[in-house]
Amino acid sequence: MALFNKLLGRTTMTRPTRIEIDCSTGVESIIELTDAEIAQMEADAQAATARKAEEDAAAEALAALKTSAKAKLVAGTPLTEAEAATLVI
């Protein structure tokens, strides 16, 4: 089909591929992903991206609390419970 399209001057989308290596023979195959596999990967990727955004936001919030807690300790002003929790292990 690829050759047929090329002869007609058509351009075709390149499908994502995967490598499979049969360790018993050493034969390596390059296989195109199915539509279902592509859809599933994209769904998993969206979930992973959302997860990473949550993790980054939580880490940044914790860092901000620590910075605020340190500043208040130096200034001798009361800490909030959340700020105190970042200093007590």
């Binding site: 390149t14 490598i19 290596i21 018993s24 390059i30 599933q40 990967m41 769904a43 998993d44 990473k52």
Partner: protein, 172 residues
Amino acid sequence: MANTYELISSSTVGSGGVSSITFSSIPQTYTDLLLKLSIRDGDDNQAFLKFNSSTTGYTAIRLQGTGALAQSATDSSTSQGVFGYSVNQNASRTANTFGNAEIYIPNYTGSTAKSFSSDGVEENNATTAYSKLFAGLLTATAAITSITLSSNTTSAIFYQYSTAYLYGIKSS
């Protein structure tokens, strides 16, 4: 203590890249397995590890440093297995550099749950440069006969010249 260390198989990604690499029909003649990866991909997230065709029963704990922050998280099953290693080597990282990772899988032929551990780092000439440790478990008890390493999306492929080496290790 391992006293043998044999290359079972390896793969180097060709032009165009691929979204996953699978080692199938893994021989059952070793004690442990070790994967050594050198990868450049298109994503800044961790990547997936799948044993056999298992899409359930995984849990993993992740510790990571971003270059500025320390973080920890737990991960669970997806259709592509579980987040099991990281190279985080996306397009924003220093050009033509590759992240690397090692994944160790002890007692892969046994009839109990399968554990793994991994460490991975990225190469980046900047403040942000992730390093990550994973410890994980698959509750399935079948011997591991195939391992799939997947990138995070179909567009975040393993680029050309990425490599994966699978070693078998014997304890005696």
